[in-house]
């Protein structure tokens, strides 16, 4: 049994402008100890997906349908009290902006200890000891002293570590990391990602990592789901996604990664912007920006298809899939891109494990 299974998750926001379909029919699963990445531009529905898992969607948002099965239980059928027992305890979240996530009027020690006190029946002295251990394990120097410090006395990177310590406080089975390094500089980002990876391995915790940075995905994750306009457009392992992307949007994202030493003066981008989720284009939502779009793309919205057989994927399986009409044979001209991997260092397998190497070696020719 998978640790987390999401089936047909649909989340809508009822606003004055109209109905925003933030997440539309999402299916995926995360196994125990697995690191699963969700990638996409701003507005793709990544964060709403994360908040839905913890049932933190607020009015006017509604989880309209679907199932979130965590350790065999459907979170959407639980009472609020039951969900509170899961939240922070078995499933924890690392929020994107640590400064906003921390309460400025409580010490960081108290904030970490609160989760431990709430979920674990421990005496105060042990709670304090555990909190200090956690601060130490996430690399906060002098944790006994820093226990009584307030968030403003920490740097951005240290605040993010505090949030990670808070997420780890009750040994969760799943950590949802919502762009944990977006607000940080690259050196701190690398440290935080290392820390997250090491801690996940140490505690055998599964991670759902949400980011818009494909480099971060390559560094940390085993499998990836690419989202666009609230829908999954590609699911694959990291190796497959990097060496053999199947969806034009994934190709666009990869070609938009800046590479050191590139001779071209202009960075390749995906033209246009994410569509308004109130008014999605007909057919494939990506067709107005897709260089390979044809008439059929404006009339048919493809589900996730097996790129080899063209068969639609069913349920939340781990099979590879891409939502493009190319794989159902409906595109006349087909997709015309190729991925060239310059094997500069001579070891392709290593390239996947390293963000810098992967981004400087992979070359996408449209």
């Amino acid at each position: 049994m998978a640790l987390l299974e999401v089936n047909d998750l649909t989340v809508k926001f009822y606003t004055g402008e109209g109905v925003v379909t933030a997440v539309d029919g999402l299916d995926y699963r995360i196994e125990r100890g697995e690191k699963f990445g969700i990638v996409g531009e701003s507005g793709a529905g990544k964060s709403v997906t994360a908040l839905s898992l913890l049932r933190l969607i607020e009015n006017p948002g509604q989880i309209e349908r679907g199932e979130i099965i965590f350790k065999g239980q459907n979170l959407l059928e639980m009472t609020d009290e039951e969900v509170r027992r899961v939240r922070g305890n078995e499933m924890a979240m690392i929020f994107q902006d640590a400064q906003s996530a921390l309460n400025p009027v409580y010490t960081v020690g108290d904030q970490i200890a609160e989760a431990i006190r709430h979920h674990m029946d421990l005496p105060d002295s042990e709670v304090r000891e555990r909190t200090i251990q956690l601060l130490d394990s996430v690399g906060i120097p002098e944790p006994e002293t820093r226990y009584s410090d307030y968030p403003h006395q920490f740097s951005g990177g240290m605040q993010q570590r505090v949030i990670i310590a808070m997420a780890l406080s009750c040994d969760p089975d799943l950590i949802i990391a919502d762009e944990p390094t977006t607000a940080l500089d690259v050196t701190i980002e690398a440290k935080i990602l290392d820390l997250l990876e090491n801690l996940a391995e140490e505690f055998d915790t599964a991670i759902q990592l949400i980011t818009h940075d494909l480099g971060v995905i390559a560094e940390v994750c085993d499998r990836v789901m690419v989202m666009y306009a609230g829908k999954p457009v590609e699911k694959a392992t990291v190796e497959e996604l990097y060496y053999d992307p199947k969806h034009p949007y994934t190709v666009g994202l990869m070609s938009a990664i800046p590479r050191v030493g590139e001779r071209s003066h202009r960075l390749q981008t995906i033209p246009g912007t994410m569509p308004d989720l109130v008014e999605l284009p007909s057919g494939c939502s990506f067709h107005p920006r897709c260089p390979y779009a044809e008439e059929a793309c404006t009339r048919t919205q493809p589900p996730l298809l097996d790129p080899e057989t063209g068969e639609p994927l069913t349920g939340s399986g781990v099979e590879r899939g891409a939502a493009c009409l190319e794989y159902s044979g409906e595109l006349v001209r087909g997709l015309d891109f190729q991925v060239t991997v310059d094997d500069v260092l001579g070891d392709e397998a290593d390239a996947i494990g390293d963000v810098d190497v992967a981004t400087t070696e992979g070359e996408l020719d449209d």
């Binding site: 009822y14 004055g16 109905v19 349908r65 919205q301």
Partner: protein, 181 residues
């Protein structure tokens, strides 16, 4: 609770130009106008038909003819003519709807399933709400299939999500022609 003016932290002096004046404790007039929940009051006091008459809905398209395949922009304007707020209860969390030739959201089947329960749309005094949308001349015929609209006359309508919105004057339509390229 101890107030800041009881703390002696603030120096008051009626004569000094840069200090606040001495406080007259006998003067207990409110410092600012109190706010009242006027939307709640008017919704309790005003009968439904007055509220409906207060709101006008207008749908407009920028041209009478569009070539086949080109998007049709349209604008929905709702205005409260009254100098007080008006609240209109709606059938669901969807406050207003639009349709093409009677097909809500240009779809042959319901796209949304909002949670049951009363909701309402609130207009401030004299408020004008304006929504700009586009219809790409496609009708959704199934979950993943769309169909091109035929050449000829089409009507875009929009109204508040209340029972019998045309009968209550909370609905409007605009007609145009789709012509071949």
């Amino acid at each position: 609770m101890r107030r800041i003016y009881e703390s002696d932290a603030l120096h008051r002096d009626t004569d000094a130009p840069f200090s606040p004046n001495e406080r007259d404790d006998d003067d207990v007039r409110p410092q600012a106008a109190r706010s009242i929940p006027s939307a709640a009051i008017t919704s309790a006091v005003l009968p439904g038909w007055v509220r409906h008459r207060s709101i006008s809905v207008d749908v407009s398209v920028p041209a009478t003819e569009f070539t086949a395949g080109s998007p049709v922009p349209f604008q929905v304007t709702m205005k409260n003519a009254m100098p007080f707020p008006v609240v209109i209860p709606t059938e669901s969390a969807i406050q207003w709807t639009w349709n093409v030739d009677g097909h809500r959201d240009a779809s042959h089947f319901p796209l949304h399933d909002p949670p049951a329960g009363d909701d309402a749309i609130t207009f401030d005094r004299g408020e004008r709400k304006r929504y700009r949308k586009r219809w790409d001349q496609m009708f959704r015929v199934s979950d993943d299939e769309w169909e091109q609209a035929t050449v000829g006359e089409h009507t875009i309508g929009a109204g508040l999500n209340v029972v019998d919105s045309p009968g209550k004057g909370l609905y409007d339509e605009a007609t145009f022609r789709v012509v071949p390229e």
